[in-house]
């Protein structure tokens, strides 16, 4: 399998009074059109890794890498027009919370059509049609209403479906999902994940699924990167998680509550200062 995305020794640093602080410290991985999970606790650098792939490291942060390649394009050196062809067209990202990630003064329809019309030469009517199709695909029952609705008029689950529709309307090859369900109610999470799951399978695209939820990631992805303090501490097949070798991964895994056999108190996740070295 040829690699769709190659990341080698990615480092992201933020300036501080005491010199630059590295928050991502040498992340490397390669992936094809598969499902890669990135897990880690908050601050482990997983979201920043996802954004760096799209060249959207929030300033004043700086991302450097030995290699950052998408389908043969060197993303470190990508020009404005190359980015235009990549962002939203070949790589998309579903953001965390639809309450903040949708423009509050634009209707869902306008935002959805904007993605499409940025990348496809089309009339308003065609874009509208595609938008409706896409809203159908994310199982929104009344797409006509949602097209004309403003983000605040939708529930979190609906908003996130609209977000997914907006990011997939151009049929990208790689989707980065940055904690796509963390802001949603537990009951809604499963629905949204199912939709995402089906769309990713149907369209055969690559997926980077970023989450702090180990169980979710392991049930959803083929392969899991476990990040700790800006580094990948372990890469493991999702099915092999139980046999993970790194103590941090084991710790995370053991923390998961199980329905059978009440395990109280839950074990505490022990952190070893050596892991961060």
């Amino acid at each position: 399998m040829t690699d769709l995305l190659t990341v080698q020794n990615l480092r992201i640093a933020f300036p501080s009074r005491h010199g630059p602080v590295e928050v991502v410290r040498g992340v490397s991985f390669a992936m094809g059109k598969e499902r890669l999970g990135i897990v880690g606790e908050s601050g482990s650098g997983k979201s920043l890794t996802g954004r760096a792939i799209l060249g959207l490291t929030p300033p004043p942060g700086k991302a450097t890498a030995e290699k950052l390649e998408f389908d043969g394009i060197d993303l470190r050196e990508a020009t404005r027009s190359q980015w235009h062809d990549i962002r939203g067209e070949r790589i998309s990202m579903v953001m965390q919370d639809p309450k903040f990630s949708l423009n509050p003064v634009m209707t869902i329809g306008r935002q959805l059509m904007e993605t499409y019309r940025t990348h496809r030469r089309s009339t308003r009517a065609e874009a509208h049609e595609r938008g409706l199709e896409m809203l159908n695909a994310v199982q929104i029952r009344d797409p006509d209403r949602v097209m004309n609705a403003y983000p605040h008029e939708l529930s979190g689950g609906m908003g996130q479906r609209a977000m997914i529709a907006m990011m997939l309307v151009t049929e990208p090859e790689l989707l980065i999902a940055d904690e796509p369900t963390s802001a949603l109610d537990v009951t809604v999470q499963i629905e949204v994940l199912r939709i995402l799951d089906r769309l990713v399978s149907d369209r055969g695209m690559g997926l980077i699924f970023i989450s702090h939820d180990l169980r979710l990631v392991s049930s959803f992805c083929d392969r899991v990167l476990v990040m700790y303090a800006g580094q990948v501490v372990e890469e493991v097949k999702a099915t092999d998680l139980a046999n993970a070798s790194h103590p941090y991964t084991k710790g995370l895994f053991n923390c998961l509550p199980r329905i059978e056999g009440g395990q109280r108190p839950l074990p505490i996740l022990e952190r070893d200062a050596d892991w961060a070295l």
């Binding site: 954004r51 799209l54 959207l56 929030p58 980015w83 235009h84 062809d85 990549i86 962002r87 939203g88 067209e89 998309s92 990202m93 953001m95 965390q96 919370d97 903040f100 990630s101 949708l102 423009n103 509050p104 003064v105 634009m106 904007e114 993605t115 940025t118 990348h119 403003y150 605040h152 008029e153 977000m163 907006m166 990011m167």
Partner: protein, 343 residues
């Protein structure tokens, strides 16, 4: 569409708020009128009147009645548009104000247009180029606008552009030669002269207004650009901007459509209040440029202890202020879908 009762309720609420604000305003001006150490009777009869004349005027003015009754009389008069008579001009104050207000309105409107047209893009530019040279330049420009005394800039402007270069006309609204050829229907000379097709007069008016309006425009530009910059910085840091970038939306669209459209919501209030402050009569500017507007009228009245005129003028300014606030609220509702449709 929601049930009409919700809408009616909203309108009622709005009207009630307006009425309350108005009564408050009346109360304040009324009290000012009683507190200032100017004897309204003396202003009428002069300081050499006999005691009997004084007493007669005292009763005629209703000053012997209890305060609440005086307030009631004052209020009913104000509501019917009777602002009383000026001691100075012996005319109805309402007429006086109607005569001077168009001058201020015209100046303020051209001023706020200049201020907005310049201030908005400059503020956006400063936000986009935050920390870079362009940002610094805009900020310095704004700082000078904030801190330079307007009468000084006005005199300097007159000296340079009128006296030395002769690019613009001097003080006043229009040259005397044209003054009587233009029939004043709206009182706004730009509109009157243009409607009557008197283009020479129109050019003359433009040449008169351009300097003071630019000056006022510069001051509101300083404020508007600064607020635009801060609102834009706030919007550009939001998540939905990242979403737009992820979508591949070109940067100009992100700035001018996504971010500015959101920043426009609070900006409306800023511009409206800025406009209100210009409409209140820019006393110094009107003095320097011998502009026969509300500011000059009020200064004159104040200097001559013409309290009726001062209070009438204050009342008008208050109404303008409330009106513009109302307008900005309405625009707010139009621009922000989250405020709309709230019962």
């Amino acid at each position: 569409m929601r049930a009409p009762s919700a809408f009616l309720w909203q309108v009622t609420k709005l009207l009630a708020t307006l009425a309350l604000t108005f009564i408050g305003l009346l109360l304040v001006t009324f009290l000012i009128g009683r507190i200032v150490p100017v004897d309204p009777v003396l202003a009428v009869v002069g300081d050499r009147a006999s005691q009997s004349v004084y007493d007669k005027a005292y009763i005629e003015l209703g000053l012997d009645k209890p305060l609440y009754e005086q307030f009631w009389i004052y209020m009913t008069k104000m509501v019917t548009g009777d602002l009383g008579q000026s001691f100075l001009t012996k005319k109805d104050i309402a007429d006086d104000i109607l005569r001077v207000f168009p001058a201020t309105l015209e100046l303020a409107t051209v001023g706020i247009l200049i201020g907005t047209v310049l201030g908005l893009p400059l503020g956006v530019l400063a936000a986009v180029k935050k920390g870079k040279l362009a940002d610094q330049l805009v900020r310095v420009l704004g700082l000078v606008g904030y801190s330079a005394p307007i009468f000084w800039l006005g005199l300097l402007g007159l000296l340079v552009f009128y006296a030395k270069l002769g690019w613009v006309a001097g003080p006043g609204r229009i040259d005397i030669g044209y003054e009587y050829s233009v029939t004043q229907t709206t009182g706004l000379l730009l509109i009157d002269s243009a409607m009557q097709g008197q283009w020479d007069a129109f050019r003359n008016v433009v040449s008169h207004i351009i300097l003071p309006a630019s000056l006022l425009g510069y001051f509101s530009m300083a404020y508007i650009s600064r607020m635009t910059r801060s609102f834009m910085l706030n919007e550009l840091a939001q998540e939905y901007i990242t979403t737009a970038r992820v979508k591949g939306v070109p940067e100009w669209r992100i700035i001018w459509i996504h971010a500015l459209r959101n920043a426009a919501v609070p900006l409306v209030t800023v511009i409206a209040l800025s406009y209100a402050s210009l409409l209140e009569g820019s006393v110094l500017t009107e003095t320097v440029f011998a502009w026969p507007g509300l500011g000059q009228y009020l200064t004159n009245s104040l200097q001559n202890a013409d309290m009726n005129a001062v209070l009438g003028g204050t009342m008008v300014i208050g109404v303008i202020f409330v009106g513009l606030n109302l307008l900005s609220d309405l625009l707010y509702t139009l621009l922000d879908p989250r405020v709309r449709r709230r019962g």
